[in-house]
Symmetry: C2
Subunit: 345 residues, 2 copies
Amino acid sequence: MRATYLYGAGDVRVIDVPDPVIQQPTDAVLRVIRSCVCGSDLHPYHGAPVPPGGKPMGHEFIGVVEEIGSEVATVKRGDVVITPFAWSDGTCDFCREGLQTSCRHGGFWGSNGIGGGQAEAVRVPLADGTLVKVPVGEDSELLPSLLTLSDVYGTGYHAAVKGGVSERTAVTVIGDGAVGLLAVLSAKQLGASRIVLMGRHKERTELGVEFGATDVVAERGDEGVAKVRELTGGDGTHVVIDAVGFREAYDQALGIVRPGGVISRVGVPQYADAPASFAGFFVPNITLTGGAAPARAYIERLLPDVLAGKVAPGKVFDQTVTLEDIPAGYRAMHERTALKVLVRP
Amino acid sequence: MRATYLYGAGDVRVIDVPDPVIQQPTDAVLRVIRSCVCGSDLHPYHGAPVPPGGKPMGHEFIGVVEEIGSEVATVKRGDVVITPFAWSDGTCDFCREGLQTSCRHGGFWGSNGIGGGQAEAVRVPLADGTLVKVPVGEDSELLPSLLTLSDVYGTGYHAAVKGGVSERTAVTVIGDGAVGLLAVLSAKQLGASRIVLMGRHKERTELGVEFGATDVVAERGDEGVAKVRELTGGDGTHVVIDAVGFREAYDQALGIVRPGGVISRVGVPQYADAPASFAGFFVPNITLTGGAAPARAYIERLLPDVLAGKVAPGKVFDQTVTLEDIPAGYRAMHERTALKVLVRP
């Protein structure tokens, strides 16, 4: 079959690899019907280290079950399933707590002998814990929105949940990428009274407004901080979601967060140490939280509104490529000519 | 009157200053009947900068109301009152949220023209918002325990509350100082199933066990981390309370905290940046929280058990000095021959 591998900065290729087969009785093999390129795929694309033999890419995908191992009970051949970006047993204490990204027997796509989702097919370990069957056909118009539940929507929702968003909180979302926009949608769903979106790509922030942003701030850095403070009577907001991951975004968050408030990070941090000093962090009782989103934990909660068409998180996809054209998809994400790229077989 | 001032490293003196008088209609003047030396008083004592004219010391005290301004309604002459370590109006949004340390009109003792509590008397701004009357006489045996409500017990309780301690959590407390020991007591009150106390002063950890610690770990650093992991099946604990404030304690906390867990800091951080990296912090969804404790927020909640004698947080006081002898009290805290020093008139 064909599968996407990354060999180094900018070097992404679709290559021939052996077809995946059932190896464990708990495995399933999926034929991938939709996948996509994640903002975090750009980190190795921009030069973050990859293993010598290349890295299988793709961790957000929807597939049709082709084969199951003898112990798989919850999905069967022909089912359309969402695969969250980590695979997990669904039974350990972490999974039961809703932290499937720390599953005692789980792992991540594209490592330890497991392929990635930007491919024709994938072997899914621990299929019962990992996969969520959805009641749609493989030609459903809902596929893009359902696909967001594998990572990007769950990540935005995680940011809002960990930030403690509620009817009583104002929220700032830093970053108008797909995660930031879906953090806006999530904050809206959790009842946030005010949602400030910081971003400067007009077509993206317009989608943010459609998702629920009440204010858009194009300024960055100190200017951006001043603008948000001006909008909020000098106080900043209770919750600041960092959907970027660069140190500048963290500094911006620290400048915006209200005393007693929360910085919730879901942008993969590209720095090791975060300012957490006496005057700026400790005295005002700031909390730093967030992390790798256990997307699996949120699928059942978010699915009904997607199936009912009440929300359309799939609007974050503004380009589609075929699997063979995926290098062009990476380029479009890298050059920011695409917000998020959907991949079809 | 006599009052304690710090002029530089190790240079603490009791000097003559003008008697405090009512300046605002919302003021009260207290005669101090008990105060104490805080671990955080040792930071300037060890050389942290002080203002040129010296710094009035003491932020934990109990007093008798001597005079009130014309607008003070909730306390009257002769009342015995607890003063939390920040003064606050009790009416602003932050106070109503229980974050009196960020009160819009409040402040801290020993700065901006307000004296400290290691003195014969103190002017208390915003008396209605700040003071809590207690139904005891000025010779009550409960005074030491009541005094802990002004800071050290509230600080330990804040650590446990912000850490999310409950019946479902195991807790590690780093530091066997008075705050650490009262964090143990607080974790116990909040129902923690297991409380590991890290400290190596036997007489202190014994008090910790009396307060509710289920395990004591004397080792520090990597050895201490390994020991706590060994005690907890390799996982560490859901909550780690840092009651120290040095970077070593933070590193220890990060080594001990379970995925999805919380590091709650109440030791005043003596470092500016905290490791909060991808692998060690973001992927396992660690939360960093805590901060300057709004002791005022917890007094009503903690008072009944103190008055009923169900808890005796005052046991952290193991030495008593008179106000005139307070330099000896600082020395004893500095040399660790005292756990916490009570000051009498």
